[in-house]
């Protein structure tokens, strides 16, 4: 990839933000909210649920999938638009 343009920068920032919020950001919230520290409910020996995650894992996985979707859309955009930089071959120029 040559110099990223504004669309490249937005796609990279937005997708990374979505994935990091889903995994790390809400993971920290889950951690601070007490048990269960992960995304699965805590059960007792009888199999009864005694504590459920503070953040629904569907929301967290959804944010990550949205981030991946942004990356996919970015890839399609890059493939569909003329790429001035990628196929550019260096040419010799005479110095002034």
């Amino acid at each position: 990839m040559q110099q990223p343009d504004i669309i490249d920068k937005v796609a990279m920032a937005f997708s990374a933000a979505l994935m990091l919020i889903g995994i790390v950001g809400l993971g920290i919230v889950e951690l601070l909210a007490g048990q269960p520290y992960g995304a699965a409910p805590v059960t007792n020996e009888a199999g009864e649920i005694v504590a459920t995650p503070a953040i629904d894992p569907t929301l967290r996985t959804g944010l990550v999938l949205l981030g991946l979707l942004v990356l996919f859309g970015w890839g399609v955009y890059r493939a569909a638009t003329p790429d001035a930089g990628a196929d550019r071959r260096p040419t010799e120029v005479t110095a002034d």
Binding site: G38, A40, T61, G62, L68
Partner: protein
């Protein structure tokens, strides 16, 4: 791995993206990922042929996920594709990655598989970041790095006349 005063990452045995350590590691990662999928696919073919009925049942059970009704719809309506497709595509994705041919296309297919595994296996008993998510990220890495260019057939395929004439093919190769 050349020394550079301005780039500390390029010191001896550093990760220089154009250097031999990068090529070695990316190729190794690609072949091992490929073997993982090839093994998963070919053992299904050996045991059940192209009739992997668990695939449709698995998708039909994916209710209440972030993918909404899509997997259940797939399980109910795309059995004709899923039952032969799961073992076949897993095998082909694995072979493509091992050979390093059409790696980006194959890795995209692998990412679709891993998305369904990650979301569908659910439970998340070992946290949201589990081996399924790591597998998904591995396929993303193959796409981002164009892993087929490192000791793979894509390095040759990208120099063919067809690829030279249609440079956009590199979005599927590489």
């Amino acid at each position: 791995m050349a020394y550079s005063e301005t780039n500390p990452l390029a010191e001896n045995f550093g990760f220089d993206i154009g250097g031999p350590l990068a090529a070695y590691w990316i190729a190794l990662l690609r072949v091992i990922t490929g073997w993982w999928f090839f093994h998963a696919g070919v053992t299904k073919i050996i045991e059940n042929g192209l009739n992997f009925t668990y695939g449709t049942a698995y998708l039909q059970g994916m209710t209440g996920t972030a993918l909404g009704p899509i997997p259940v719809w797939m399980g109910n309506n795309l059995g004709w594709l899923i039952e032969p497709g799961v073992p076949l595509f897993e095998t082909l994705i694995g072979l493509a990655l091992i050979a390093g041919a059409f790696v980006r296309l194959a890795a995209f297919g692998g990412a679709i598989f891993m998305t369904l595994f990650w979301v569908g296996n659910a439970g998340f008993g070992h946290g949201l970041v589990n081996s399924d998510l790591m597998g998904l990220l591995l396929f993303g890495t193959m796409i981002a790095l164009g892993a087929g260019r490192y000791y793979g057939l894509d390095a040759i395929l990208e120099k063919t006349r067809l690829a030279e004439a249609y440079p956009k093919l590199r979005y599927l190769l590489g």
